[in-house]
Amino acid sequence: MRLERANLLQIYYLMRLTRAMEDRTRTLFLQGRVAGGVYTAQGHEATTVGAAWTLGDGDFIVPQHRDLGMHLTRGCSPRAVMTQWLARGNSPALGRDGQIHIGDMHHGIVPMISMLGESLPVACGVALTMKMRKRSTVVMASMGDGATSTGPFHEALNFASVQKLPIVFVIENNGYAYSTPTYQEFAIADLSDRAVAYGILGESVDGNDVLKVVETFGRAVEYVRGDKGPALIECKTFRVRGHSEADKADYVPPELREEWLAKDPIPRFEEYLTREQILTSALKAEIAEQVKAVVEDAVNFAEQSPAPDPATVANYVFAPEGPIAIIGETGAEDQRYINALDHRTGKPFNTMTDTGKPEFVVTEEVGRR
């Protein structure tokens, strides 16, 4: 897929933003301001931003716990992310759920749960709907290497292959499932070989090379959009930090971590952009500024946001009666249709709004494709 200068800078910006958001989340956690566990994905940025970048309007992502980059690339608001991390009452989950368990069907993001693998059958249902509604949109469903060991992975890929569903399955193989190295998870070299079991397209790619990622997913998305059935793309990357902030990850051989730190996708991309004279030191500084500003805005917004109201804890277990429009069809944005607004707040869903100005300048030029 062809990338304009502005696209390249946008991608770079998003990778930096993703990294900065997670670094900041970590700081907040260390300051004791984030309750529970914090999961970040340093090193995944090329994969998450690059893969999601190849999607268009009406397409869906089914992200997992390392996919902040996908959320941001698809326009999920940094403010929403920070309100969620800080468990505010106006967060996407109203403080009822945390981390990046964020979703908004109206903007093409399916919320995850902690049970890894279980989102994959859900992705099938989204794609099945697209098929029934005769759309040319696609679903991008991601998972870690560990999730490929689960039953739902198999049931979903098999069902998707039989139904020829428009799904690009993304495996973010980062070398470990928590502390478990890949050789204790499976007995093959490339997880994309599992495509053979379903008769679908399979490919492995260097997940730390954003240009290769964009190129590969560009092709995969096109293929899937062409009704050829699902694809399974493995991105080889590495989890250079612990599984969560509580994990020192001393089970990772230092030299292995070093090796991958050296392959950090951001400097790698920076190098390219500089070599190609796309990224000047001035622009780089400007982007850094923008990123800083957006993150600060998100944190401030979150910190000024109200805590959830304890009195509501047992409310909204069941959805109220009323018509439901099919997502993406007439009426779906109409507030009379209950899935067009969050009945718990009476407000429309807001994971994509309040994106926290100032937005990075280049985005004005090109928008989100």
Partner: protein, 327 residues
């Protein structure tokens, strides 16, 4: 218009809802070409095509998960478990994905999970399940249990139109029972979820029951009237979650005695919660111990004599009712 069976009423509900709303579709094992293991969906594939009547691979987690995904899109999937026993193979998808979705994201999951439940047909340990208690204890899903042909259709329509996950438990013993044949209204109707119904009025005691046991209890009530001159009030819960507390309390308030009957095993069954509610809310009203008749705490047996001994029998119900009446 002629009388239809409980099974036909289920098929009618699905067909009419699919005709009424193109968001409604059916997926499951052998539901299309074969029309379902019990022929509940016979003819639907022919009428609606393979995109709305989907024969899936044998994969309950994928069936339920796909239903969740489609429901999030605003569709109204009906996911069939070939036998409800197999719902345990998609348990996590229900408990953690479907049930908690609206509560934590504000996005509704309008879907139905249905399948043949219950015993009495020599199904053995793996084809006779009464799974209601697990879901009764899993906030976020509604559970309905039709006992008549009218309710079978009306409750399923209500379930399909509901904006939440609904577990619809059809009792396979009732599928083709001649005495359950009924002429159904020609016009569209629903049986609202959350409302119990009094199947028989009486002052001497209230019997709380649901599903196939409703008929067992009605027979027992007749005997008790003839042989013991007892007037037994029978409440068919119809909806287990949400529970129609009001009707339950009201009835027991005027009978002051309660007998709970269900086919599911005793310990931790629906009857436990019913008893707990009554023991807490109607403490001053009870003239006798809250009595339960249910299956013993053991798996469901295959051999006919064992199955007969396992299921709550007329004898057990009569004995319990007489003991209670004696208070």
């Amino acid at each position: 218009m002629s009388a239809v069976t409980y099974l036909e009423a289920i098929g009618q509900a699905i067909r009419e809802e699919m005709q009424r709303d193109e968001a409604v579709f059916l997926l499951g094992e052998d539901v299309g070409t074969y029309g379902g293991a019990f022929k509940v969906s016979a003819g639907l594939l022919e009428e609606f095509g393979s995109e709305r009547v989907i024969d899936t691979p044998m994969a309950e987690d994928a069936i339920i998960g796909s239903a969740v995904g489609a429901a999030l899109m605003g569709m109204r999937p009906i996911a069939e478990m070939q036998f409800i026993d197999f719902i345990t193979c998609g348990f996590d998808q229900i408990i953690n994905m479907a049930n908690k979705m609206y509560w934590r994201t504000g996005m509704p999951v309008p879907m139905v999970i249905r399948g043949p439940s219950g015993g009495g047909v020599k199904g053995g340990p793996f084809h006779s399940a009464s799974p209601e208690a697990w879901f009764f204890h899993a906030p976020g899903i509604k559970v309905v249990v039709p006992s008549t042909t009218y309710d079978a259709k009306g409750l399923l329509k209500a379930a399909i139109r509901d904006n939440n996950p609904v577990l619809y438990l059809e009792h396979k013993l009732l599928y083709r029972l001649p005495e359950l044949r009924e002429e159904l209204p020609t016009e569209d109707y629903v049986v609202p979820i959350g409302k119990a119904i009094t199947r028989r009025e009486g002052e001497d005691m209230t019997v709380l029951t649901y599903g196939a046991m409703v008929h067992q209890c009605l027979k027992a009530a007749q005997t008790l009237e003839q042989e013991d001159d007892l007037q037994v009030e029978i409440i068919d819960l119809r909806s287990l979650a949400p529970l129609d507390k009001e009707s339950i309390l009201e009835s027991v308030k005027h009978t002051n005695k309660v007998l709970i009957v269900h086919e599911d095993t005793l310990t931790g069954g629906i009857g436990a919660e019913l008893a707990a509610i009554l023991a807490e809310d109607l403490f001053e009203y009870l003239d006798g111990p809250i009595t339960r008749v249910a299956a013993p705490d053991a798996p469901f047996p295959y051999a006919p004599p064992l199955e007969a001994a396992y299921l709550p029998s007329m004898e057990k119900i009569l004995a319990a009712a007489r003991k209670l009446a004696a208070y």
